[in-house]
Symmetry: C2
Subunit: 230 residues, 2 copies
């Protein structure tokens, strides 16, 4: 359950200040599948970074699961990010010196409850890479992978812990239509199993997979979409 | 004029060798507008890097403007890249410590004939950034820009010297439909003015802007497209 009220984010100060978010109001219920669309530069990644507890707003309020995120300390936030949220970054953010396999195994190192042992971590990472069609690329490092393959490693890493909240920032921008549809069916499956999915996309076709489409423009919500939350 | 015969590219060796290109035959005439499509991992970026003189094939031959590229030395290749080719990279490759403006000014430093002075370089870079809708972001560094804005800086940088050969590797993957169409109209205008354009894209809609579509699959040309060259 995500509740955002009058959310603001300003970068910089004075004459060169950029108002990336200018008062966002949003409610997303547990288990929803929401697409976020809007022009380049309209604030989508900025919003996702705040929802993913990777950045702080400069105004307004964000409650996640009923908790005001601004009251949480650094350790609580790290806990939430590791245990509750799977984030697919627009620019992938893979560790360049680790193989695809090691990159995907990383989130499992930070789980405190029921931490899997090394063999199990490896087995689950391999399964996650096979699910995105990269079973034969597990030992490649990011610079030995195509753009779309790097994007799929980022997806596998975000999903390997089966997080209850999935934030996917343009997960198919570097993928052909078929690979993009395969990723969508993975997201669908996780959604049917109970995950809440927020997906930024520029593709109107892929947005139709969601139950609800939110459109941003110049840092505000332009349309809040039909659907249970809106 | 691009002539490619039996082009091969193998990464690595032995058991883990990857045959990224397995014998590509292609002819592209001056002034053509060609779209290159194919599944993720099929060899598109590998082919583009060889055509852009950024990488060497491991087999076969590449003639550019009648010259066998494998006979050219390091200086000739650098000359060709700077004077003749504008490359839009799939992962942008912007210099992180330079502003958008300085990034776009960079290619003009390397032109030997008719090198513009500093004021003219700055004026042309500003014009290029305005053409892609970033006139108000010229002093931002890459990490102060959205994903699609970074992509547009990469596009502006590739085009600022008005090169005769434009290689664009998925130039609109991070752009909304409208921004993508604006980029396509820039490519169209340069094409009408005489440029040869090769564009990798995953979007069937954008591919229709080209005169000819080449499809790769597993490192070979699957279809060579209708049109003057093929
Ligand atoms: N340095 C490398 N070492 C080993 N394999 C590599 C290397 N670079 C690329 N590859 C492999 O070569 C193949 C082709 O890569 P390429 O980047 O050309 O694909 P692509 O068609 O551009 O894909 P995408 O649409 O995902 O960008 C891929 O299967 C990739 O894993
Ligand atoms: N560190 C920063 N400093 C200054 N401005 C910034 C910074 N980061 C982002 N911006 C600006 O904030 C605005 C919103 O950026 P954001 O990354 O959220 O856009 P977006 O909707 O994700 O766009 P895209 O579709 O291109 O990825 C942009 O106009 C951008 O220039
Ligand atoms: Mg973004
Ligand atoms: Mg590629």
């Amino acid at each position: 359950l995500i509740e955002v009220a009058a959310l603001e984010k300003v970068y910089g100060a004075g004459k060169s200040a950029v108002q990336a978010l200018r008062g966002i109001d949003l409610t997303i219920r547990r288990g929803e599948f929401v697409a976020i669309m809007g022009p380049s530069g309209s604030g989508k990644s900025t919003l996702m970074n705040i929802l993913g507890c990777l950045d702080q707003p400069t105004g307004g309020r964000y409650r996640l699961d009923g908790e005001d995120v601004s009251t949480l300390d650094v350790y609580d936030l790290a806990d939430i990010r590791n245990a509750k949220i799977g984030f697919v970054f627009q620019s992938f953010n893979l560790l360049p010196r680790l193989s695809a396999l090691k990159n995907v195994m990383l989130p499992m190192l930070y789980t405190w409850e029921n931490k899997p042992n090394a063999d199990e971590r490896e087995a689950r990472a391999i399964a996650a890479l096979e699910a995105v069609g990269l079973g034969d690329r597990v030992d490649h490092r990011p610079n030995e992978l195509s753009g779309g393959q790097q994007q799929r490693v980022a997806i596998a890493r975000a999903l390997v812990n089966r997080p209850p909240l999935i934030l996917a920032d343009e997960p198919t921008g570097n993928l052909d239509t078929q690979s993009g549809e395969e990723i969508m069916s993975i997201l669908h499956r996780l959604h049917t199993e109970g995950a809440t999915v927020l997906m930024v996309t520029h593709s109107p076709d892929l947005a139709t997979h969601a139950e609800r489409i939110i459109r941003l423009r110049d840092g505000v919500v332009q349309t809040n979409g039909a659907g249970p939350g809106g």
